[in-house]
Symmetry: C2
Subunit: 320 residues, 2 copies
Amino acid sequence: MAVYTDVSEGELEAFLRGYDVGHMLSYKGIAEGSENSNFLLHTSTGSYILTLYEKRVDPGDLPFFLGLMEHLARKGISCPLPVHRRDGEVIGTVAGRRAALITFLEGAWMRRPTVSHCREVGKALAGLHLAGADFPLHRPNALAFEGWRKLWEGSRARAHEVEPGLAEEVDSDFVDLAAAWPGHLPAGVIHADLFPDNVFFLGEELSGLIDFYFACNDLYAYDLATCLNAWCFEKDNAFNLTKGTALLAGYQSVRPLSQAEKDALPVLARGSALRFMLTRLYDWLTIPDGALVQKRDPHEYIRRLRFHRKITSPREYGLA
Amino acid sequence: MAVYTDVSEGELEAFLRGYDVGHMLSYKGIAEGSENSNFLLHTSTGSYILTLYEKRVDPGDLPFFLGLMEHLARKGISCPLPVHRRDGEVIGTVAGRRAALITFLEGAWMRRPTVSHCREVGKALAGLHLAGADFPLHRPNALAFEGWRKLWEGSRARAHEVEPGLAEEVDSDFVDLAAAWPGHLPAGVIHADLFPDNVFFLGEELSGLIDFYFACNDLYAYDLATCLNAWCFEKDNAFNLTKGTALLAGYQSVRPLSQAEKDALPVLARGSALRFMLTRLYDWLTIPDGALVQKRDPHEYIRRLRFHRKITSPREYGLA
């Protein structure tokens, strides 16, 4: 929720000379995206997003992220398209940061998603999984089991400051998940962060998916479990079964789940809740107050974890 | 530099039904403006800025600010124009805040203004003074002498934390300025905050003035002195005489200064530097770390104050 690096008009004009996008009309830093600096740019040819990659992003991952966006767009997924420079590259440099210019997608993200939005996002996620299946690059999920362990090692000692008893709760999650984590489910490119602020709608129609900077190779059903966490709980942290039913039905209308995927849903949802609880907890404990990085309260995901621990059948999520 | 209040898509759509601006395509919170929440809105008819007025803005002042923008635009000044609602009003409500929709001005603000930009802003400021002369509403300057005293009462005791000896320095500024402040110079509507981030350029051409939320009635030459402070010092806080010369010449090419205004320039520049030093000092000492409000280091203006104290003739600013 911040612009970490500002860009001067001279730097921007020099950067834009590398592209065939007309002349600059205006640019505004926007309060979206938690990892990078983003500007909404108007030029004589249209609107674009200029993204400056900050230190949390590994430059070696940029070809995967930007290549994936191009791959998906070619397959008909509505997502931002990196603009090629005159020299053919998609990654340039501005204000000392690696940077890319991407097309601007109209649409607004839903602060209050409805059942209909949940169905649409389910369909779009399945479409993304199918479209990404033949993407040739590979990126391991840095926030999989071993990544969680590192975050937990860095926060366990102070976990009680956030919630009494949290250390013991989470220790047992690690034991249970290590024993139950499924090894052989269908896998491929996943979005890994398909929260409401990364999905745009125009009216009831889904107009695009954005922010592929956590995309990686992992289990498809894990990505779906993340959407259950991100879309189907209400502000009071209660699970909305109608939304879960719609999300899962939407997904299965495009890519039906195998029985093994269905059976794994509770453990995957618990693992996904653990992943988001841990990144939030770690940031909560380690990022100083007053830093530009937005810190999210981990409690929301502590509550989701407790919910998933009690699930005994995937039908409790609304699976038909 | 923040969005204090977010707006949901449903709230925004309901708000926009009061206007004749087509249907919403997208809206992004933008990291500009230090007092209010601002969104860049795309609709089927074009781009707009949606401003939500936060608690630092007195609702009673909104008719002055928005009426002034309309008045100036009618007089040919390039500034944002409040869009009228279907019921004729320009102020509505969204997300529990008073809000206005204003036209979007293309252009970028200059992070590194040149001499040519300084000349253009001088001309534009004089044009604004002339165009505002027959604006019928009146708003006293809340950040004039008495306002400074209140800020100083609220920060004097801790001023040494920011700079040793600052309390004594500023005490003598108050004595000197009270004795020397000019009473009878030409006055009228001033912008009062015409910093580089409030002036847009397209190439070398000034494309517009924004952010009239400090506008008020006060001395024209005081407004010009504020521009000297805001535009003609370098990053190392050295005064750039060439820029000063250009700014003053640009201003006088549209509205020549009287001899009394010229003679008052050093004391006005010192007063203006005191005003910005005091607001920054007060915020620096009272706003908690981690708050969304951007805190600016008061040292920049402590240095300007010291510069102005030594000025013996307005010719030292570049006055012909």
